[in-house]
Symmetry: C2
Subunit: 100 residues, 2 copies
């Protein structure tokens, strides 16, 4: 499986709006098993996205989906900085999404 951990810094005051855009726009992505959005507990402009995909191919393909492109266009003006913290291969644990 393929995973991503990303750290996003929202434009000041826009974190909740960005969270809403990300949550709404990522509901239907083939091969995506988990896409969790979390507020940073310390910095009020930072949020974290952790993703689990069937494969890197599924992830890459999602970037061409009209709904995802639209979401990215909505998110872009709300994002001050984006850092891909890690590319991973999730292997298991409690709550692991074993079925799509």
């Amino acid at each position: 499986m393929y995973g991503l951990i990303a750290k996003l810094t929202a434009v000041t005051g826009k974190r909740d709006e960005l969270i809403q855009v990300l949550k709404e726009g990522t509901r239907n992505m083939p091969g995506c098993r988990s896409y969790i959005v979390a507020r940073d507990a310390v910095d009020e402009n930072i949020l974290w996205v952790t993703e689990i995909w069937d494969s890197e191919t599924s992830h890459d393909a999602s970037l061409s989906l009209p709904a995802v492109k639209d979401t990215m266009a909505q998110a872009k003006p709300l994002v001050a900085d984006f850092e891909k913290v890690a590319v991973t291969n999730p292997v298991g644990g409690l709550g692991f999404p074993s079925s799509p």
Copy 2:
């Protein structure tokens, strides 16, 4: 909700053993909704743990559980470095564990 993103560096050659210890030892922790272990895709000694808990209290209480203490004792000699990358408040998204 309360979340953690942690980066662990295993003692060289011990990553898979460490993953096994973490997966086995964290199955029954009250208040823990998700505890996902992932290999770093680039560095063969690094692994990532992302956790979602009902509350910080649940997380803190888990550290006193005999099974968790035992797991930590087993994991300790396999860990070269531990970095708490983020403390978070998970808010939602695809695959969000809304029920315990």
